[in-house]
Amino acid sequence: MNRIHSLGHRSIWLIIIVLSFLLPLALQLGYIQHIMIMAMVYIILTLSLNLIAGNTGYVSFAHPAFYAIGAYTSGILLKTSAIPFLGILLFSGILPMAISIALGYLFFSRVRGFAFAMTTLAFNAIAGLILSSVLPNIVKGVEFQGVYAIPRATISIPPLFTFTLTSNIHYYYFLLCITLPFIGLMSRLMSTKVGRALTAIRENELLAEALGINTLNNKVLAFAIGAFFAGIAGGFLAPYITFVSPDLASAYYWVLFFTMLFAGGPGTLIGPIIGATVFSVLPELLRFAPGVSFTPELRQALFGLSLLLIIILIPDGIGGKIKEIIYRRRARA
């Protein structure tokens, strides 16, 4: 198989990078930068969820919990400790990862398919309750409705420089420096031994095992990497919004992630990126639609309807469709 297409022509990379660096300058408004920042946060979340739910084919409801845990970790540490932000960010990724590894070995070894999905659902509910009702009683600086007034992030490499991220544009570029390498990392991951093993597990777990693939370890690995980056996304959110709430672990978010992932195209790279971008920008665009004729209820109904139609008409999502077209062309050639 030609591995070139995993990383792609550098020229195209260049175009995208340059574009994403220039775009916020073209659009000065802080609010639009906010939308683009959130879009990137969702790209990270959806792509990391894709690893387990898309590539490996195990639907996981636990992603919002990892996101929230990351956000709380970063929020609390920023408020109460003197650890440099980059360290905090790393830690807010490592904590969910540790949890996910424990969960993974506990349940992947016992249950499969839907039962596993339910265990993650249970974990998400329990985590949400702990964040909203238990943590405030035991951790200083955590209110029942979340962590308020989180200080802005300060990036410092002691001898060289110290810089506090204040405006949206700062956060935009900071996040861009995380997102672009992350996308590259994901595309590379897919072209490794592990990446192919995950696809194999999704396609036919029995066969994969019979052919000598250690499915348990691979599944846990995918789950853990996903959790790590979900945590990073949360860890970034805390100083950006300066507020985190238990809502982050609520059902609303896994519905949103699933919409982005499955409409975009599970198991592909471009799919989740498109899905995340479209579905994080669309609701904001709807804010500008004439309010009266476009009630929020109608928005929810349309949201559900469009997702339903996409699943039925193009079950593999947009990314899957693109992949299909390319494959057909290559097969003919």
Binding site: M1, R3, R188, L189, T192, K193, V194, R196, A197, T199, A200, E203, N204, L206, L207, A208, E209, A210, L211, G212, I213, N214, T215, L221, Y327, R330, A331
Partner: protein, 262 residues
């Protein structure tokens, strides 16, 4: 050719099954069956429907856990070893109803198997060190060689789901071979394919046998069994009723009984 990793060494007996019994609830599917396969041997396992062939097969390959008895592979007890470890140890199998990664290309089907029989971890693969590059290259070469051998090269970039049934059967044999097994278990390799394809598959199996591969296969098609097998093992109602050369088996009373139900 890079040597794939081996868990066990030892010669002579490749597979040895000792008093294997398997019960499903009340039913006894296998009633202490004992059998063996010598190195470089081409053995057929036959028997009427429900005689326990596939149960025995699944116990050997690890899909089922036997109720009692032992399975020795190259002198090592693998009775309760996880499936993937048996495979890594050089025991590979195919399935009667073809099992492949449908949404991966033929090439990828082979590569994903090949690379999991090589020594290198996630990080190495991720950082793509020179060593790893070399290994992955050899994996591709082996995959190409196999596709050539099976005449599937033109279909290298096709999804497995888009191949014909016969081609899928072939590809599955390829997937079984790419891990350099010490013993290849084939579950009805010629079932439900057209005569020309049967002929083709027979040729391939003979070639492999000549190349020194040890093969144990379940088969319904008697002509195939008689042409290929050096030795035939017959099961009936979960017990072994005969074990010998095709010639002997043809003359064996109890076998006829079992088949004709006299």
């Amino acid at each position: 050719m890079v040597k794939s990793k081996r868990l066990f060494t030892g010669d002579g007996l490749v597979l040895e099954v000792v008093n294997l019994t398997k019960k499903f609830g009340g039913i006894t599917a296998l009633d202490n069956v004992s059998m063996n396969v010598q190195e470089k041997e081409l053995v057929a396992l036959i028997g009427p429907n429900g005689s326990g062939k596939s149960t025995l097969f699944n116990c050997i390959s690890g899909l089922l856990s036997p109720s009692s008895g032992q399975i020795l592979f190259c002198g090592k007890n693998i009775t309760h070893m996880p499936v993937h470890e048996r495979t890594l140890g050089g025991l590979s199998r195919t399935f009667q109803l073809v099992e492949l990664f449908d949404n991966m290309t033929s090439m990828e089907n082979l590569i994903v198997t090949a690379e999991h029989h090589k020594h290198y971890g996630f990080l190495g693969s991720f950082l793509r060190t020179r060593k790893v590059k070399a290994i992955e290259k050899t994996c591709e070469e082996e995959a190409h060689r196999l596709l050539d051998f099976l005449g599937l090269s033109p279909l290298a970039n096709r999804y497995a789901k888009d191949l014909s049934y016969g081609q899928r059967k072939l590809l599955q044999i390829g997937v079984g071979l790419v891990s350099h097994p010490r013993l290849l278990l084939l579950d009805e390799p010629t079932a439900a394919v057209n005569p020309t394809m049967i002929k083709q598959i027979k040729e391939y199996l003979l070639k492999l046998h000549k190349a020194g591969l040890t093969i144990l296969f379940v088969e319904h098609e008697m002509s195939v069994v008689m042409d290929l097998a050096e030795r035939v093992i017959v099961l009936s109602r979960g017990t072994k009723i005969a074990d010998g050369t095709p010639g002997e088996i043809q003359k064996n009373e109890s076998v006829l009984e079992a088949y004709l139900g006299v």
